[in-house]
């Protein structure tokens, strides 16, 4: 269990004069669910963008399973085993849910454009496998009924699940989720928490999660890291965090 999967060492980035992330270090252990919380604008999403190389580090390093991620381009990150979802859902709206999950397997599907053009047997086989895999994931997330719906027309909650499915289907080792429960009500959030736990076991995942819904964070995270003004102000178990006075002051407010 205690194997470090991702190690961020003193990472920083600034925008103009603003230090959005300021010398933050953390480690994620294999198989855990780590929460990342902090006030709005604290730099959480920015850390995700740094991990996935949408932003380039000003300083520090991010190491994932022995790979220095800064050596890679954004599209190569998933091949290393890191998948993500977005704070504002970013689906391929004109595609069906199934197709979204097929794109999710882009790097897994193994044929080249020439084979694609003449649609060789291999292409058909690979496609078939991909479809089966996608359907399997949809079933697990219980959204297989939507498989042939256009993603852009779905209810928000379903879109969030599709996005999760798209990230899962590539078989990542680490999955990073940016406010997956935003816009869900408490009941839906509970359902969602169950699903997360389930897929985590099923796929042997490690999860890094940003969320403002404390009921979700406190119930599923093994460990939580708290950010404020780009700096890490606390790290610990949910219990430790919810009683940390600095965290209460900066983030949680008086009662939880």
């Amino acid at each position: 269990m205690n194997e470090t999967i991702l190690k961020a060492d003193n990472i920083s980035i600034s925008f103009g004069g603003l230090k959005a992330v300021d010398s933050v270090s953390f480690e994620i252990q294999k198989g855990e669910i780590m929460g990342l919380i902090g006030p709005n604008g604290a730099g959480k999403t920015t850390i995700f963008n740094l991990i996935t190389q949408f932003y380039k580090l000003d300083e520090g390093s991010i190491c994932f399973l022995g790979n220095d991620l800064s050596k890679f381009k954004p599209h190569q990150i998933i091949e290393k085993g890191v998948a993500r979802t977005f704070q504002n859902v970013e689906l391929f709206k004109s595609m069906t849910v199934l197709e979204n999950l097929l794109v999710g397997q882009h790097s897994e599907i193994n044929y080249n454009i020439f084979q694609g053009v003449i649609r060789t047997k291999k292409v058909k086989e690979e496609e078939q496998i991909a479809i089966e895999r996608a359907m399997e994931v949809l079933k697990i997330l219980e959204i297989e009924d939507y498989a042939y719906f256009y993603a852009g027309h779905l209810p928000y909650g379903v879109q969030k699940l599709v996005e999760l499915g798209r990230a899962l289907v590539s078989g990542p080792k680490l999955i990073i989720l940016d406010e997956p429960a935003a816009g869900m009500n408490d009941t839906e959030t509970k359902e969602f928490a169950k699903k997360i736990r389930f897929v985590k076991e099923k796929f042997g995942l490690t999860i890094l999660l940003i969320e403002h819904d404390m009921s979700l964070v406190m119930s599923i995270c093994n460990r939580i890291m708290v950010l404020n003004f780009g700096k890490k102000i606390a790290e610990g178990t949910p219990e430790e965090i919810s009683s940390n006075s600095e965290v209460i002051k900066a983030y949680l407010g008086e009662e939880v």
Partner: protein, 288 residues
């Protein structure tokens, strides 16, 4: 050398002038109005007709043409653009392609196909400074171009209505919730832009002469200027126009006139690759 540069600036001011109307529409609705040049041509023909057929003095014809241009802008918005609200943007652009054909065809039928002389706003002898000879009318055009640029800049930056126009471009539905009428906003920008086209046309026509073809090159170059300088600012297109005019002339004079156009466009592509939002364009990155 200095004459080449000065002449380049003068030609550049024509590009810049034509570009302002283009940018106005683009800033508000993300539509590239391919017919901007043809609108200028058509409006200029109106001015010409007023002056020759009705014998009006320049100034009166100028003012009436501006009124006509406003009406044309109104009609274009009403008949062509408004029904396309909610359609993909590219549909509106194709509609403006259709507009080119309509305006160009009608202009030929209504005003004839011959090339005509269009009077200058200012008819004074050339000013000669050392080895440079400048037409005072050209100086006037440069001043008007820069003047319009500043007016637009301040209007958009500080006037509530100008702000509203920019808001509509970013998020029409949210703009509605601010109490902004999208229809009125696009209407007024099309009217303004048509007026700008009329002014541009009337100022450009003495140089290019007046015929159904007068804007062909200027329109292409104005589009290029806008992109070169940055499509989402007002300074950009004007600066872009001047730069284009000068570079084009310098290359023509000292390198090759045959390959001038090829060179200019190659340069634009290279510039854009270096500065993808134009020289003065602000980079705006979508945040995830």
């Amino acid at each position: 050398m200095s004459q080449v540069i000065v002449s380049g600036l003068i030609t550049g001011s024509l590009y810049a002038l034509a570009a302002l109307g283009l940018v106005l529409i683009f800033k508000t609705s993300d539509i590239v109005n391919f017919a901007q040049g043809e609108m200028a041509m058509f409006n200029t023909f109106i001015a010409y007709t007023l002056m020759t057929k009705l014998g009006m003095p320049y100034l009166l014809a100028f003012v009436l043409t501006i009124i006509f241009a406003a009406i044309m802008g109104y009609l274009v918005q009403r008949i062509v653009i408004r029904p396309l609200f909610g359609s993909p943007l590219i549909s509106s652009m194709i509609a403006t392609l259709g507009l080119i054909m309509i305006l160009n065809g009608l202009a030929g039928n209504l005003f004839g196909f011959e090339t005509k002389n269009f009077p200058k706003m200012l008819n004074k002898n050339n000013i000669v400074i050392g080895s440079i000879s400048i037409d005072p009318n050209s100086l006037l055009i440069i001043l008007i171009t820069i003047g319009i640029m500043f007016v637009l800049f301040y209007y958009f930056k500080y006037a509530m209505k100008g702000l509203a126009i920019r808001a509509v471009a970013q998020d029409p539905e949210a703009a509605k919730l601010m109490g902004i009428s999208i229809d009125k906003v696009t209407m007024s920008t099309w009217m303004m832009s048509s007026i700008l086209s009329a002014i541009a046309g009337m100022l450009i026509a003495p140089t290019t002469f007046l015929d159904i073809n007068m804007m062909a090159d200027v329109h292409l170059k104005s589009f290029s200027s806008a992109v070169l300088g940055g499509f989402n600012t007002f300074l950009g297109p004007v600066a872009g126009g001047f730069i284009l005019g000068v570079v084009e002339n310098l290359f023509g004079r000292y390198a090759s006139l045959e390959w001038k156009t090829v060179f200019v466009f190659a340069l634009i592509v290279i510039m854009l690759v270096v500065k993808p939002n134009g020289i003065f364009g602000k980079e705006y990155r979508k945040k995830v």
